[in-house]
Symmetry: C2
């Protein structure tokens, strides 16, 4: 009886999952393949498929099945497929069912309308023209929060959308630590900064050859992966066996290559989910923070490491005559150069988190109405000066730089910084479990890292909460900023000769 | 009141249309982009989206709206959007609602299971291993036919799926004419056939350059079109502004280039549908036969014409040294060479229809159980001898060559030949309306042809029946084989010196 009900639940959720995967394809295609003339038609297709998926998931019949199965699922092991599916789907269902379809539709419409306004405002450095749509988005996000019971802080509700169960006060504690211990490192290093590197030339066809050679050694293969160029890179896919990463190319720098490694990290997480979870809501990464820990790990902990460049620098140099005067060590220092800059997506490892902290603070202030939105640029610019010591010359390079607020995404930014922190926590555990791991990179040995990640993190997908998932991987459910700051200080001590001691 | 009901109908049909377009994307991606590891997952996604589209369309509420709107729609002009939508959707709904969901699902499943069996049977020349799945598919198709009232012949039901309103006896009359008047041309010409052309070498990168130069002059542009390589070429798309054609390349012949022009013809039909019909069931080509008339027109009537090659041959020769000894005239004769061959998709203009006729006859015989299915290869081989005068050395090159029967498609083949015939009927009207049209090809002038097609055929999409659509374009609703046979005989008279007189 309960088995039959569980089968019905599983079938319904599989259908919803198929629609979600279809949405992912519609979005990937839109950004990578679609002729631009089809933009309006694609928006309609996505609205239709998204609406059907939402209606099918929030169907009261699904809620009833979940209620009826709670006790039965509780008799299964906590980590069984049955118990996990009922537990996770119940939480998802309750959250999704709280939001009226009208409000959801209005949020989607408002975001769609705001996007071109933001594009134009950024292009013309005109914050005033963005203000009305930002106000509207923020207003809708407040109405969204009002759909839920706020225990502690309103920001908890939106944060929970991206990092389930995490509280704002916890993030604040973590970020305060970073303000105390990471910001000073930047100030120390900037004083010692090496001069700007010479302008380079990187032939784009050869960038493509090089990145494929590298990610193939990482674990990319054509039977389950794609790599395509796009304007704003991302990772996506339609199945555990269909992982699609995207990248971009610049003729004067290798930013695109680091982006490719970053997206590979996201892709590998999805690729290594247990195939037994396929077509269920458990078959993906557990949270944005955990996802970002994977992308930052491959981009930075692997891709900006000395052993990595010992392996690949000769090949890079062979492909690009611009690097004639370099050796692996000089190149390693260059890709780890610290320089505070205005743009988040171009920020280096040392300054990135500081960009996030100011956004986190501003988002809470905006939700709380702490200042009129007209003042947002000033508030932005003041914090950039406080945290990074630089002046913001224009809103285009300041408050208008990110797409997120135009899409109504509030609560998303912190996950980027949390990902950095989690990557370092995982790294301490992984390198303790696998002595010689980093030396192996010099010989192209990535299987031990991939296998550790699959076994301790990727395979279980979304069966547990982010905290439980972290605990199963490293023994604690707490996001801890210390390992990241330690990692950063030790790396920069080696390069710049600052003190390796974490206490500032 | 009726207006509100019409809006509800339109909204429901728009949703179904969005899902149909989404299916098209899932299928295009599957064949062109998807990593092969995702095959099973993609089949599930397509089953889900297809099922939802079918359920939403055959919803009894749609049937009620159509009933309630019939009288109201009848008060509008016959060619108005309102009258056409209600009329066409009513016919579609009645046909779709007749078939139980179970049978539809079983047909889809059986086709999916039969495909790999057919692939393997063709590879190993083993008809016996294909026989059970063919038997099953045929049996299901008979059950499908049983869902409908047969007025005249059972084959009418399946033919109507692809060419609405056309009767089997009409096709038989047309094909009998071809057997009498087209088959003798082939026999005449083969006796005079020029010797086989030398082996060529066509660099594939340069084939791509050339085909893009040509289709851009035809009207292909990147803001609304894509062209990608695939194994089995086809035309698809997700919107009037998103047309996707596919092709393939051979290193020793330009078959792919003619295929690209063929798919361009299909694509242009969809591209030139009136945008006011978007998101409705009227926003596509009216039938497979009419569609094929467009693809064959661009492939053959344009792409195998003398003025066309006067324009492009110098460029083709410049790109491919293999053509050093040629001039435009010799090349024109080569691309119009007649030679009976075993494989339909490689058949020339003169023999193609004969391949279709034998399939049409065999399909009817199979449905009627005129011989045990074990005898199908013999029946096939005997007809190939009768119509084309060649021996079939293996079932791989005979009865196993086409994918259609493995997918359960019966009634589809005739539309290929009908398309050839319609293309010649249209051509007689177009060239009468537009004197100098063909001479214009020599100067890259295709706008007059495109515009004629849009105005007289493409724009109205699926508002009328195929017969009505043909009548609006050329003044008769009847498919007439005479213009095609006349065209063929005149062309071959010019090349081979046979009599231009159509009476054999």
């Amino acid at each position: 009886m309960s088995e039959a009900k569980f089968e019905e639940l599983r079938t319904r959720l599989a259908e919803v999952n198929d629609l979600g995967r279809t949405m992912a394809l519609l979005a990937w295609d839109q950004q990578v393949m679609m002729p631009r003339g089809a933009a309006a038609s694609r928006a309609e297709m996505m609205a239709t498929v998204g609406r059907i998926a939402h209606v099918k998931f929030t169907d009261p019949a699904v809620g009833r099945l979940l209620d009826e199965l709670t006790e039965w699922a509780g008799r299964h092991d906590y980590d069984s497929f049955e118990a996990s599916l009922v537990r996770v789907a119940t939480t998802d269902w309750r959250k999704a069912s709280r939001v009226p379809a009208d409000l959801r539709a209005e949020m989607a419409r408002s975001a769609a309308l705001a996007n071109p306004v933001w594009v134009e405002a950024r292009r013309t450095n005109d914050f005033a023209s963005f203000l009305p749509v930002l106000t509207k988005n923020l207003d809708l996000r407040k109405r969204y929060i009002d759909c839920f019971d706020v225990d502690d802080e309103p920001y908890d509700i939106v944060l929970d959308d991206y990092e389930r169960g995490l509280r704002t006060k916890e993030v604040r504690r973590i970020f305060d630590y970073l303000k105390t211990y990471q910001a000073p490192i930047v100030r120390e290093v900037v004083a010692l900064a090496e001069e700007a590197p010479p302008a380079h030339e990187f032939d784009i066809a050869k960038q493509k050859v090089f990145e494929l050679e590298v990610v193939r050694e990482f674990g990319f293969d054509e039977s389950s992966w794609r790599l395509d160029p796009t304007v704003h890179p991302f990772a996506s896919g339609t199945a555990i066996e269909d992982i699609r990463i995207t990248t971009r190319y610049f003729p004067d720098r290798l930013e695109g290559f680091f982006g490719t490694m970053h997206e590979f990290g996201h892709g590998l997480y999805e690729r290594q989910v247990d195939p037994a979870l396929a077509r269920s809501p458990l078959a993906r990464g557990v949270s944005l923070g955990m996802h970002e820990s994977q992308s930052r790990m491959w981009e930075n902990l692997v891709g900006r490491s000395r052993p990595f460049w010992r392996r690949y620098f000769p090949r890079l140099q062979e492909l690009h005559p611009t690097l004639a005067g370099y050796d692996a060590e000089r190149w390693y220092r260059e890709v780890n150069r610290v320089k505070p800059s205005l743009i988040r997506v171009e920020a280096d490892e040392s300054t990135y988190n500081l960009h996030i902290i100011l956004r986190f603070e501003l988002e809470q202030a905006m939700l709380a109405g702490e200042f009129p939105l007209e003042q947002l640029p000033e508030e932005w610019n003041r914090r950039i000066w406080d945290y990074l010591g630089i002046e913001v010359p224009s809103d285009t390079e300041g408050v208008l730089q990110d797409v997120h607020w135009s899409g109504g995404s509030i609560g998303y930014f912190p996950t980027y910084a949390l990902g950095n922190l989690i990557s370092a926590q995982l790294w301490e555990k992984i390198t303790a479990d696998l002595p010689g791991l980093e030396e192996g990179f010099e010989h192209g040995e990535y299987a031990p890292l991939r296998d550790w990640l699959r076994e301790h993190l990727h395979a279980e997908g979304r069966k547990f909460t982010p905290g439980e998932t972290l605990e199963r991987a490293i023994g604690t459910s707490q996001i801890d900023p210390e390992p990241y700051v330690r990692y950063l200080r030790e790396k920069l001590a080696d390069i710049y000769g600052i003190s390796a001691n974490v206490e500032s």
